[in-house]
Amino acid sequence: ACGSGSDEAGGAGDTIVAETAFNLKTIDPHRQFEFTGSTIDSAIYQTALEFEDGDLTKPTDGLCSFEMSEDSKEMTLTLKDEDAKFSNGDPVTADDIAFSFERLQGIKGNPSFFLDGVKVKKVDDKTVTLTSEEPNPALPYILPNSSIGIVNSKVVKENEGTTDEKDGAEQFLNENSQGSGPYKVEKYDADSQVVLTANEHYNGPEPKYKRVVLRNVSAETQLTDIQSGQAQVAYDLNSDQAKQIDESMGKISSLPSTRSLYIFNNADEKIGGPAADPNFRKAVMAAIDYDKLIDLAGKGSQRMASLVPNEFVGAVPKDEAPERDLEKAKKLLKEAGYDGEKVPFHYSSDQAVNGVDLAQLAETLQAQLKEAGINLDLKPAPSSTQLDGFRSAKQPMGIGTWGADFPDPTNYNVFIPGGDVADRVNWSDDPKLKKLADEAAKAKGDARDAAYAKLFKATTDTAVWIPLVQPVSTVAVGSSIKKFVSNADISFDFAKAE
Amino acid sequence: MSMISIRDLNLSVTAGKKTTHILKDVSFDLEAGRITGVAGASGSGKTQTGLAVMGLSPTGAELSGSIDFDGVELVGMPAKQHNRLRGVQLSMVFQDPASAFHPMLTVGDQITDHLRHHQKVSKKVALAKAVEILGRTRVPHPEEAVKKYPHQFSGGQLQRIAFASAIICDPKVLIADEPTTALDVTVQAGILRLLRELCDDLDLAVLLVTHDFGVLSSVADTIVVMKNGVVVETGEREAVITAPQHEYTRSLIESLPGAEVSP
C-alpha cells in the first residue's frame, strides 16, 4: 500500500512541490506584503530592477535599466528587455510599468509606502521617470521588491483595475496572474495551496519544472515530506529539523535572513515600568546569553549589533554586538532599583521567524534573565492580538521582529524616535539620535554606510531595542532536485531548478 | 401415557461463588389434552420449571434429574437439538403480552418466523397460515392484524396473538406462564376460555403457571402446588381445592379473600 517514496516523487516528473506554512492574503502584487505572497509573485512577475545574483547590496537591471540623478531625486527607467511578454502573449511596455507603479501607490495597500512621495511619469514608449521631492537613494533597492511587479495594464484595467482606491482587480489577479515571469497561476486557494504553471510566453530559459505546487503545511509535516520525497522544497524548517535532513534526503540551503529579532522596551514609565529605566534595559541587554540564542537559531545565524542585518549598508559590525555580563547586569539592576517584580513580556505564540519559534525564544530569554534576577511574566497571544497590543503602544516589554522591506538602512528609520515603530514604545524624543539621523540622511557613498552605522550603534546603546539574533533563512531542497538557485533575493528560484 | 414426565428435577444457579437451589426434586406429569396448573407464591420456582422444559434455564444453571418428552430425554439435550423442538413441539406463552413482542416487527412477521424457519415454508404461505390461526384465536380482522405492530393492539388481543404464535407449528406441549396475570378479569375470562378450547381441540399438554387459585379452579385439570422449589402437593383440581392435603395448600386457599371457596 506504499503510495509514496522518493523514487515515485522523482517520477512525478515536471511538478515541484514546495511547502510552507501559509501567511497568504493575496497575490495581487501591489497588495501582497507577506512572505508567501512574495514567494509566489516573484515567480510570476518581473520587476523593473533586480538584485545581482541575489546580492542585496547590488541592485541591477531587470526589465529596465536605470539611471539615478546626482541629487538622488530623479530616476530614469528605460525598458531594456524588449522580448518580455506577459502570460497572454502581450509585450511588456512602458505603459505597463507606469501603470504598475501608479496602481501600487494609488490603491493604498500595505506596500504602497514603497513609492511614497514618488511621482511616476511615462516619458516615451521606452522610458519612465520617477521623481522624488527629497533625495531618495533607497529607490534602486526598493524597485526589485516583488510587490512592485509589473502587470499587464490592459488586462488589469479591463478587469476593474485602477490606480486609485476604487480598484477592484484583486480577486481577478489572484486567480489570473498578469505577469511576465516564468510562471502563471493555475489555481489559487489561500487556505491550502497555490498551483503555478509555466508561462509559455516567458522569454527566459524554459523552466524544467512546468508546475509548482505550493502547499500550506506545518513545519513538522514539511520535514517528513522532504524526508520521504513527498515535497521538494520546504521553507520553514528550524535548525533542529534541518539537522535531520541527511545527504540522501536533500540539501539545506542557508542564507542570512533579512529579518531581525529584538526585545522592545517601552520608554513610558507608566506603561513600561522598570523597562522604562535605561539601567534596567541595559541590564537586560547584559543578561542575555547570546551564544545560546545563536545555538537556538541554528547554524548560520549571527550576532547583531543593531537591528540592521549584517549584510546591509549601515549595519553595525557584529563584533560590536552586546555581550553577556551577569555581574554588570546585576549592578545595573541595583542602580535601577529593580527588586524582582514581574515584568509582562509579550510575544506572538504562533509565530516562527526563519525557524526561530518565538515561544521558545521567550522561554529561553525568561530562563536567562532569571539568572540575573529579572522576572519575566510571559504573555503569549496569537499574532493578530499581539500585534494589536504592540501597535497601541501598551506593552511594557516583548519580542519584536522586523523584516526588511528593502535592503537599505532607511528602512530602519522607523525605530528612531519619531518613527512609526518608536511610537509603539512611546519613545518620542532623543536629540542625539535626531542629530545623527539628519547627518546620515545627508551622507553619500561610503560615508553613508558609516553614518548609518553610527546612528544605529547609538540606538542600540539606549537599549530601547535589544537586538537578539539575525536568524538564518533555511530552504530545504529534496534530493530529486539536483541543481537550484537560492539567494537572498528569492529564497528558491523555481524556474532555475533542475 | 404422559406427554411430559418430570422426575426429580433439580436446578441450581451459580453466580460468583454463591449457589442457589431453585428447584428441588420436582416431579409431575403433563398429559395430552389436559391442563396442569402449577400454583405457588412468588419465587417458588414456577417459571423456572416451565423454562427448564423449554431448555431456557438461565446461564450458569445446573439442571439434573429427568424431563422425558414423549420418550426423548430433554435434560442434557444439546442446545441445537433442543432448538429443533422449541417452537415446533414445545411452545410457550409469557406473562406480559406487551413485552413478549418485539416493538419494531410486525405481528405477522413475529408469529410466522419460526414457522418459516422450521417448516421452510414461503412467507406467503406462512402469512396465510397466520391469518387462519389468528382467526382461530379470535383476533379481530386477522388480515389486517398481521400487518400491524404490537403497540396497536390491546393486552388481551396481544395475548391471543401470542397463543396464535405458540400453536402455529402444531406443538404437542404448551407452557403458559401466568398468561392472564397482566389482564383484567373480563379479558382473563376470554383468554382462559381460549386456552381450554385450544387444549381440547389440539390435544395439547398444557402447563399453566399461575398463582391465582381462581384461574386454576376454572381451567386446570390437575394442580401442582410448589413452595420454595419443592412440590408439596399434586392432585386432581377439585380434590386439591376442596380438600387440600398439605398444610401449605390449605393456608394458601384460606388466605384468599371473600368466600369463593365452597365448603
Binding site: E220, Q244, A367 | A259
Partner: protein, 310 residues
C-alpha cells in the same frame, strides 16, 4: 362470612423474609458502594494508577530529579542515564517536567469538573424540578452548547480570552456543564414523578425540602460517577487545548504542550511520547474507576449516566 366485614389477618404463610443486607446499614449507601466498586479488577487497577499519579503529583518537587524549568542540559538528548526520559528542545529534563506537569493538570481537571458538576447539576435540578419555561430555557441553552463540538467551542473561548490555564478552565467549564444538567434534569424529573417524592409532597414538603431531602440523595451518586468519568475527558480537553497552544502558558510544564513540541521534533520521539503516555494512563485510571462505579448504579440510572461521556 358476611360481606364487607374484614377478617382478622390470619397467620398466612409468607415467603417473604426480611432480606438482610450484607452491608452494615449504618453507612450511607454511596459510601459503602464506592470502595466496593474499586474491588473490581478494572476499578482496582484504576485506583492503583491514580494513587501512583497522586503520589507523583504531591511529591513532584522531591521526585523530580532536576529543576523542570532549568535549561541546563544538552538540547534534544535521548533518554540516558542522567536524563531518564531525555531532554527537550530547550535542554530541560523531560522526566522532571512530566512530574511537575501533573501538579497543574490533576488539580485543574478535578477543579473544573467539580465546578461544572456543581453548576450543571444545580441548573439541571432546577430545570427538572420546576419544568416548563425554566426547563425549556436551561435545556435549550444546554442543547446549544452541545451543538458545538467541545474542543471547538473551548478553542474559540480560549482564543477569545487568551491562552492560559485559567481561561482554559473557564472554557472547559462553559462547555462541560450541560452533560450534568442533562443527567441531573432527567434524574430529577424521574424522581419528581416518583411515588416517594409525591408521598413527600403529600406530607407537605416544600419544593426546596423535597429537592434537598428526597431528590438530592438519589441524584448525587450518579453525578459523582459522571464526574469521575468526566475528569478523564477534562484532562483530554485540557491537553487538546494546550496542544493547540491555548492552554497553560509557558514555561509551566504541560503535557499537551509537550506533545505539540514533540510533534515538531519527530526524531526526538521521547518529548511527545512520554507525556502522551501520562495522559493516557491517568485518563484511563479515571475511566476505569468511573466505569466500575457506574456498574454499581442501578441499570436505569446507569443508562442516564450513559456510556457516552466524552
Amino acid at each position: 362470612m358476611s360481606i364487607g366485614t374484614p377478617k382478622q389477618p390470619t397467620n398466612t404463610p409468607t415467603t417473604e423474609a426480611v432480606r438482610r443486607d450484607p452491608v452494615d446499614p449504618g453507612l450511607k449507601r454511596w459510601q459503602i458502594r464506592f470502595p466496593k466498586a474499586l474491588r473490581t479488577p478494572l476499578g482496582f487497577v484504576g485506583a492503583g494508577i491514580l494513587a501512583l499519579w497522586l503520589i507523583a503529583a504531591i511529591f513532584a518537587p522531591l521526585l523530580a530529579p532536576f529543576d523542570a524549568l532549568a535549561q541546563n542540559f544538552p538540547r534534544l538528548s535521548a533518554p540516558n542515564g542522567e536524563n531518564l526520559l531525555g531532554t527537550d528542545t530547550l535542554g530541560r529534563d523531560v522526566l522532571s517536567r512530566i512530574l511537575v506537569a501533573a501538579r497543574t493538570t490533576l488539580p485543574a481537571a478535578v477543579f473544573v469538573v467539580i465546578c461544572s458538576a456543581l453548576l450543571g447539576s444545580v441548573l439541571g435540578a432546577i430545570a427538572g424540578y420546576f419544568g416548563r419555561a425554566v426547563d425549556e430555557i436551561i435545556m435549550r441553552i444546554a442543547d446549544l452548547v452541545f451543538a458545538f463540538p467541545t474542543i471547538i467551542l473551548a478553542m474559540v473561548i480560549a482564543a477569545a480570552l487568551g491562552p492560559g490555564l485559567k481561561n482554559a478552565i473557564i472554557a472547559i467549564l462553559l462547555v462541560s456543564w450541560p452533560s450534568y444538567a442533562r443527567v441531573t434534569r432527567s434524574l430529577v424529573m424521574t424522581a419528581r414523578g416518583s411515588e416517594y417524592v409525591i408521598a413527600g409532597r403529600l406530607l407537605g414538603f416544600s419544593a426546596g425540602r423535597s429537592l434537598a431531602r428526597e431528590i438530592a440523595p438519589n441524584v448525587i451518586s450518579p453525578v459523582v460517577v459522571l464526574a469521575t468519568l468526566d475528569v478523564g475527558s477534562a484532562i483530554l480537553t485540557m491537553a487538546g487545548l494546550s496542544f493547540l497552544s491555548l492552554g497553560a502558558v509557558p514555561p509551566t510544564p504541560d503535557w499537551g504542550a509537550m506533545i505539540s513540541e514533540g510533534v515538531s521534533q519527530f526524531a526526538a520521539w521521547w518529548i511527545a511520547f512520554f507525556p502522551g503516555l501520562c495522559i493516557l494512563t491517568i485518563v484511563m485510571a479515571f475511566n476505569f474507576i468511573g466505569d466500575s462505579l457506574r456498574d454499581t448504579l442501578d441499570p436505569h440510572t446507569a443508562q442516564e449516566v450513559g456510556e457516552t461521556t466524552s
